[in-house]
């Protein structure tokens, strides 16, 4: 009797163990969750000879975070509901001060390689539709020849404390002839991407940023290509 029971017990044990694993393995590992939503808009500045010279970037912080920022800095809106010049200038100074490693929610890639951008210039802050709007330009330190291949910008923030998304079709400024843009917005319903995202989340945070094109798989992406 015992001999006939034992293999069955073992089989049950194995079944049970695999069931447990099956239940637990697909559970999502930890990721951060967003507290601040940032709508971004990208403008490509193209120079003569189809060279990408600079990016014009706009952030719009959600209305709740806008209220928080104004409250935290002790800034009251003026009679028109806008910002006083001094307050705009003060906020511009704050937003121009980037901590090391911060990429402004927008990573520029060319041929899959990360491209260096200069510090933000001409930074302006105002209120638009109750949202803090920050606009600035970043020069591409070594301008990219677009004839060689398309330029790509991945919009995301690694820790997901900020949920940064592309809010509008990118624009081309300057020598736009022969150049076109397209967007690929992250779709969580895309099973393939979702699977990649799930496996990415299993990596430690230190592992992902080394290959930005992998991290960018779950970001919104915009592309600029010229004939």
């Amino acid at each position: 009797m015992n001999e006939s029971r034992h293999p069955r017990r073992r089989a049950r044990r194995q079944l049970f163990a695999s069931a447990l694993l099956g239940v637990l393995v697909p559970m999502p590992p930890a990721e951060a969750h967003p507290h601040i939503f940032v709508d971004t808009e990208i403008g490509f500045v193209v120079g003569a000879g189809q060279v990408l010279e600079a990016l014009q970037i706009t952030w719009r912080f959600d209305a709740f975070h806008t209220l928080y920022t104004l409250a935290a800095e002790g800034i009251a809106r003026d009679a028109d509901g806008g910002l006083a010049d001094a307050d705009s200038a003060f906020l511009a100074e704050q937003y121009a001060d980037w901590s090391p490693g911060f990429d402004g929610f927008a990573k520029l890639l060319s041929g899959g390689d990360s491209v260096a951008l200069d510090t933000p210039a001409g930074l302006e802050v105002d209120l638009a539709d109750d949202m803090l709007r920050v606009r600035f330009t970043r020069q591409v330190i070594e301008p990219i020849a677009l004839a060689a291949g398309e330029a790509e910008i991945s919009v995301y923030e690694g820790t997901y404390y900020y949920a940064a998304t592309v809010a509008a079709m990118p624009e081309i400024h300057g020598e736009a002839a022969g150049c076109g843009v397209r967007m690929e917005l992250f779709d969580p319903n895309n099973v393939e991407l979702a699977a990649v995202q799930t496996s990415l989340m299993a990596l430690s945070r230190e592992e992902t940023p080394e290959n930005p094109s992998i991290g960018a798989l779950f970001a919104d992406r915009v592309f600029l290509a010229c004939d």
Partner: protein, 316 residues
């Protein structure tokens, strides 16, 4: 027949969970989109409140409650802890619901105390408050939760160890009983439910697998979650203090806590139900003495794993 039914049940659960992974991501994405909607609604309600518009109070409370619910879908807020405890321990669902509610409300009250108290008594800046929360209290909470996970895993491992020893003792009756003279008193499965056909088979007492049996356990659980105030609550309280709508701000944060409690409560109920399925199958097939501590061990390790992952993210 029962075995087949059990296999079908477990296979169905595994399939549902695996197939649900893609839709889980979609669900989280949906929840974040909703969070943004309710964040905007809170902002509008605050504007309406400042202009003394009727209904602004209710709009703020409603938006904050909904925000608390959808925001808690993301990691943190004690979901893994409550879910893991519910899955791994013989805790009644009512008690786990009380702990869910208490932890969410304590988290809200702690946020109010921290922000209003910090502004009033210590004249701290909003930035110092968020830094305190993100850089110190969040990691402290993750550490505490990881500690509880380890404790849970330890209890499970101890139970499993006992079961293994008892199984060996069943195979070699002469050696096992010397170590455990009290084992005869440890059959708590009642009514001979363990029909293993091996007279000397002793497993862990089911009581060993119980958690939150004391007020102390409950307080530790609540404190480990509540020590880290929700960032959304801090944002709202800073706004409320600055715009001098302190009363509505505090009330809205309590509503936010109730919304969070509703989601955590759902997790609590689901986890207890899942444990019920496993235990029902386990006692039918006679593997409960192994299954219960295994479940506790694995859920304890899972809690620890998630907490350490969040800790690394917080410290990175």
């Amino acid at each position: 027949m029962r075995l087949i039914a059990g296999i079908v049940l477990i296979a169905a659960v595994v399939l549902a969970v695996s197939a649900g992974q893609g839709s889980y991501d979609a669900f989280v994405a949906w929840a974040y989109a909703q969070q943004r909607v309710f964040q905007n609604e809170m902002a509008s309600a605050i504007g309406a409140l400042q202009h003394g518009k009727p209904g602004a109070w209710m709009a703020l409370l409603g938006a904050a409650g909904a925000y608390g619910f959808v925001h808690a879908v993301g990691p943190g807020h004690g979901k893994y802890l409550i879910g893991g405890v519910g899955l791994g321990s013989r805790v009644p669902v009512s008690r786990l619901l009380v702990v869910s509610l208490a932890s969410s409300l304590a988290q809200a009250l702690w946020a109010i105390l921290l922000v209003y108290g910090g502004f009033y008594l210590l004249q701290v800046s909003a930035r110092q408050l968020t830094t305190l929360s993100e850089a110190y209290l969040a990691p402290a909470s993750y550490l505490a939760v990881a500690g509880i996970g380890l404790l849970l895993a330890y209890r499970g491992a101890r139970g499993l160890h006992r079961w293994i020893r008892a199984s060996r003792a069943a195979d070699h009756p002469s050696s096992g009983h010397r170590d455990q003279p009290d084992d005869a008193h440890h059959h708590h499965y009642g009514g001979g439910a363990v029909t293993c056909g091996c007279g000397g088979h002793h497993g862990p007492r089911v009581d060993d697998v119980a958690a939150i049996t004391s007020l102390r356990d409950a307080v530790v659980l609540v404190a480990s979650i509540a020590v880290r105030p929700c960032t959304g609550a801090i944002f709202l309280l800073v706004i409320a203090w600055q715009l001098d709508i302190k009363g509505p701000g505090a009330a809205a944060v309590i509503a936010m806590g109730l919304g969070t409690a509703l989601l955590i409560g759902t997790v609590a109920i689901s986890s207890v139900a899942a444990r019920g399925l496993v235990h029902a199958y386990g006692s039918r097939s006679g593997i409960l003495p192994m299954a219960a501590p295994s479940l506790q061990l694995v859920s304890g390790l899972a809690i620890t794993w998630f907490s350490i992952a969040l800790l690394r993210l917080a410290l990175a």
